[in-house]
């Protein structure tokens, strides 16, 4: 087992969502759900984060921001698309400036649909993401040993 799964720090970015999903992400940290029980804390710094929670779709304005945050995150890292807009652009998919879901900008590991996505769904997605984080962490350690 790697320690990455015992202390996943998250960063969240609101692409162009209505803020509904964004509020649900923060609700997961509040007393009702208290994800700090699993060592999850919210950080504002991509260099400290292991899990990238994106809400809202990607558009011409924010695609570079999403990519910049992703690139600044330190391996191993996992991306979770929170809410239907982040998964596939949702009701905004026809808008002239919307490119699409987050996977149009960066590789997404877990999709958590919903409008707005429920805190339970976010926690489920993060737990799934932890499995992927574990795999990536092991792969990185193998790579380090090989090098």
């Amino acid at each position: 087992m790697t320690y990455a799964t015992k202390s996943p720090w998250v960063i969240h970015y609101d692409g162009s969502s209505c803020n509904g999903c964004d509020i649900e992400v923060l609700a997961a940290l509040c007393p009702g759900f208290d994800v700090e029980r699993f060592g999850i804390i919210n950080t504002g710094n991509p260099k400290h984060a292991d899990i990238f929670l994106v809400t809202g779709s990607v558009n011409e304005q924010n695609i570079s921001v999403v990519q910049e945050i992703y690139n600044q995150m330190v391996e191993p890292k996992v991306v979770i698309a929170c809410g239907i807009c982040a998964c596939s652009a949702g009701i905004f998919h026809d808008c002239y400036n919307v490119i699409g879901g987050v996977d149009k900008a960066i590789p997404v590991d877990v999709y958590a649909p919903g409008c707005a996505v429920r805190p339970e769904a976010i926690i489920d997605a993060v737990v799934q993401g932890l499995g992927i984080l574990e795999e990536k962490s092991k792969a990185l350690q193998e790579q380090k040993k090989g090098a």
């Binding site: 320690y3 015992k6 700090e36 029980r37 060592g39 504002g44 400290h48 391996e75």
Partner: protein, 292 residues
């Protein structure tokens, strides 16, 4: 105090303090969570955090940042070693300040605008608490007749009896030193209260792990300073000191959870006023009282 005693003390501190500091940080997080109506993380969460950070990839922007942080860590260990081996309190204060300066230089060396804001604010914090910390050392000398911390075991009464005003002043700046709100200007443990991540913005992976471990050492040392006020010739006073230390740490957690961050002007003004009133008056009384 012989060099050998300090070496042994430093070694013992280097081994024991991170264990205590880690547990203290874990308790801190659980108590904080309970105060907010949450369950909170496992007790060993700070340990898991550090182990995870060590596993992360290395993406330092330069090779000097890590060296500066290592220096900060090493000097924090030496400062603790000097203190707990009964060495010179004033030297301990200077060495821990050197450690803080290395930490600031590490942040400046990255040339990140966010890390620089954090480093600026850390510098302000050092300016704010340093007068009171120096007054504390001087007052300790006036009360105990020596700068050596081992000297307290030869006293008939604890130094708190004569320098309680200095103790209160030091309690005020302890909030800055422990990086607790309302004085966590340079580096807050709570996201969304911070400009990216203050002084540690560019620190990641192993470097950030070293910073976390340094905080464990620092916290144990600062709480040791608190305990020093309550120790005298009676060996049972050590139990009293530990009880006071735990009480003070609980008070700091309570303050952390109940007060919003202040502006740096308020930090600097309040810390200096407290230092001048509490430290100045107490030292003046101790100095001039014998001549009256």
């Amino acid at each position: 105090m012989s060099m050998l005693a300090i070496l042994i003390g430093t070694l013992a501190f280097a081994l024991v303090a991170p264990v205590l500091g880690c547990l203290l940080a874990g308790v801190d997080r659980i108590v904080s969570a309970r105060m907010q109506g949450r369950v909170g993380p496992p007790l060993l969460q700070p340990y898991y955090d550090v182990r995870k950070l060590i596993e992360k990839d290395n993406v330092s922007v330069n090779s000097t940042e890590g060296v500066y942080v290592t220096c900060a860590l090493v000097f924090a260990i030496i400062a603790g070693g000097i203190f707990f081996s009964g060495g010179n309190l004033l030297m301990c204060v200077f060495v821990i300040t050197l450690s803080s300066l290395f930490f600031i230089v590490a942040a400046y060396s990255t040339r990140s605008p966010y890390a620089e804001i954090g480093a600026n604010r850390e510098t302000l914090q050092v300016m704010a608490y340093e007068p009171m910390v120096l007054f504390m050392a001087v007052a300790f000398y006036l009360a105990a007749g020596t700068f050596d911390t081992a000297g307290v075991f030869e006293l008939g009464t604890p130094v708190i009896a004569t320098i309680w005003l200095v103790f209160l002043g030091f309690l005020f700046v302890l909030t800055i030193k422990l990086r607790k709100s309302p004085f966590d200007l340079s580096y807050s443990h709570h996201a969304h209260q911070e400009i990216v991540k203050g002084i540690t913005t560019e620190m990641s992976g192993k470097t950030l792990a070293k910073v976390e471990i340094m905080h464990w050492y620092e916290n144990i040392l600062f709480l040791g300073w608190i305990g020093l006020f309550f120790v005298w010739g009676n060996p049972f006073s050590l139990i009293l000191a530990v009880a006071v230390v735990l009480l003070v740490y609980f008070l700091e957690i309570w303050i952390d959870n109940n007060f919003a961050r202040v502006k740096w002007q308020a930090l600097l003004k309040s810390a200096w006023i407290v230092a001048l009133v509490a430290g100045g008056v107490n030292i003046a009384v101790l100095t001039f009282l014998p001549y009256l």
